[in-house]
Symmetry: C3
Subunit: 307 residues, 3 copies
């Protein structure tokens, strides 16, 4: 079976079968990164361009490593010190990049929908590496892979997602993904950080962290974006941490074999206590490892068949 699409823009428009296909491929490709020679020639001679309008360490690096382990050539553009300054439109930048005949464009942009806008205009494949408050599909895929590895399945699991749901593209993509795969998703967070459309997404809203994690198989803590503090979405960090920070005592409320996830970077002591982050239930670093595998799978499925 193959992925019959040229782009990966969001989880919302993937079928269950497509998600399963990507996860299955990722599980196989993961082995490559454990070898001494971490490289297969599959995508030799393909050109992958990363175009990041927001700073990022791990996501850009994860994509770059994934591409190199498949032997693709990579070119990295961080826009700020470049043409964005000169006032060129996104469509023109993209059309120009495409004219250099890349096979894949990986874009992170502060505007929701930017990758979709490009995908429609470009012949080359486009991967959304995070667009505004909208989606971050490879993050949700790596999260689902991590859960599937730990639990053997996604169907029938209780998944709690806690924190700033409103501003989190990670939360949105994961809500789409886990509900689609048959998990039961419950969210919790300050009332000002719960978006109004939540009821349309098939998730439950818990009034407190405690009630969200009760009986959970999976607890996913979101990063508090400190730069939103001034916007008064919540009173103080201390207050936030007290109400919605995950501590050891909360794990007793969850299933005995609960796993703890965080997309990183973590604010230790704010949304998650160090004891939990580094404890035996944490799969936070597995998420990062699986990020490379999932991105290899997506690249292979989007580019491989065109070989």
């Amino acid at each position: 079976m193959e992925l019959r699409r040229k782009d990966l823009l969001g989880i919302a428009d993937l079928t269950r079968e497509e998600i399963a296909l990507i996860l299955d491929n990722a599980a196989i490709l993961k082995e490559i990164s454990t070898r001494s020679i971490k490289k297969v020639p599959t995508l030799r001679g393909r050109t992958v361009v990363t175009l990041f309008y927001e700073p990022s360490t791990r996501t850009r690096m994860s994509f770059e490593i994934a591409a190199k382990r498949l032997s693709a050539d990579t070119v990295s553009l961080t826009v700020a010190a470049s043409s964005a300054v000169k006032g060129e439109t996104l469509a023109d930048t993209a059309a120009n990049l495409e004219a250099m005949r890349p096979d894949l464009l990986i874009i992170r942009h502060q505007a929701s929908g930017a990758p979709h806008f490009l995908a429609k205009r470009l012949k080359c494949g486009v991967i959304n590496a995070g667009d505004g408050l909208h989606e971050h599909p490879t993050q949700a895929l790596l999260d689902m892979l991590t859960v599937k590895e730990a639990k053997g399945r996604l169907h029938g699991l209780k998944v709690a997602i806690v924190g700033d749901i409103l501003h989190s593209r990670v939360a949105r993509s994961n809500i789409h993904g886990f509900t689609k795969m048959g998990s039961e998703v419950t969210v919790a967070g300050p009332a000002t950080l719960l978006p109004p459309y939540l009821d349309t997404l098939g998730v439950k809203i818990a009034p407190s962290l405690e009630e969200a994690v009760a009986g959970a198989d999976v607890i996913m803590m979101l990063r508090i974006q400190l730069e939103r503090m001034g916007q008064m979405f919540f009173s103080t960090l201390r207050e936030y941490s007290k109400q919605f920070g995950l501590a050891l005592r909360h794990l007793d409320l969850a299933k005995k074999d609960v796993i703890i996830m965080h997309p990183g970077p973590m604010n230790r002591g704010v949304e998650i206590s160090p004891e939990v982050a580094d404890g035996p239930h944490s799969v936070i670093l597995d998420q990062v490892t699986n990020g490379v595998a999932v991105r290899m799978a997506v690249m292979l499925l989007l580019m491989g068949d065109k070989a």
Copy 2:
């Protein structure tokens, strides 16, 4: 035939035969970028260093992609957050880079003549990727390749170059190139933006955009550098656009099969209207595609024979 020089510094010092040689090689190498495996082993094990003292998306990327498609290794340095801050001289930076044994140094620098200064001191090849207000030879080569593809020849064509001629290294390199290859070049722009030396270069000066494009086979619009506004070279953007912005109605004055060029990034609605930029006469994206091919050709001709 081969290129008997170690550097590409400007169009002014190339012979007609050398220009033809580069264009012929570029036309052949262009096919590589249309393959599924866009890579030939020709320059394997060569080290190409890009050293950019000015920000750039497309030029640096075009050179990097060109190098990678020939299997060269690339190292990119954007100077600002680096030793330039520490006050090292350009000669010392370059001598140090050379001591690491690169095969080719690609430099963009705000000072006219910087690449020539380096080329004299360094054993490795130097490509000028834009020096101050002086030259940008690979841009002119890709422009000539684009015109030759569209028209089958360069000799006897009427080429109009419109805009800020004074500050444009693209204009300078193209004036040298097209006049050398037998085209007839006419320029137009605000009087404050026409340099005094134009008459020595064998170009005609038209008093208006309309007269410049009359009967033209090729219209090349230059980018208005908005940062020069404060310097009062022209009154307002609106005024500039009205007088020297290319609109659909101007195309009727030109040859029926006129082609429209722009080196990018475009200020849509200022020097060029979107209808023209995206219309059937536009070869703007072909220019970008040809940029990779021309840079592959130059790299191959400068480095290939030394294998």
Copy 3:
């Protein structure tokens, strides 16, 4: 013989045998950079990550070129526009990088001890590319290789190190290295720039530049960090230059075949006169060339045997 360690953190903890092993390997690997095809497949499929928290042109580039000439894949992170901004701890950044399964992490950090902190926590190899005021071991290794090439030995040589000893990790690493290999090290500099622990390191302190270089086989000038001026470690540049700037006349005091070294970037006319820097005794560019060779050797010795 092989290097039985996973990290290179400092010269202080290397044995004489280990230093000799690295230098011997570097001397052999140096030849690769003189070939037309400057590449061997030895580290194909290994992932090398450079993580620089301080700007650098030459060191990062030297490591990148070394890695590429051994066919390793490289990913470069300059931290500032990335997660450092977001407040992630160094340990978390590193754990995340490691989860992507790199083989080697090359780190430069403003905090002394940062690479050691990481090396203890990470399974992958760590190379210290400069940590605060502490060590810069590959710089000392390339300096020792350069001296050994010029003099045939390190034992019994008189080495003068002149300048801002207090703030120089280059000086520290070299003092460890040269004393360990049997050279006799003398330092000189403004009294405010001589650290109190010097007597414990087995070096002599000379009261003046003149006395330091008297009879020297090797003179190593340190870079004056102009940003320290405001901190009043010395009165004026002019005064500094007069007292501790190396000029032609000083060479007469040294051995006839003295060699002059500088780690770069140089402040010409401050700590070293142009006549000396560019004169026949200078081996400053050899140092840079040897930097690539030494880094290839270290990478090979740290990663090669695990193949």
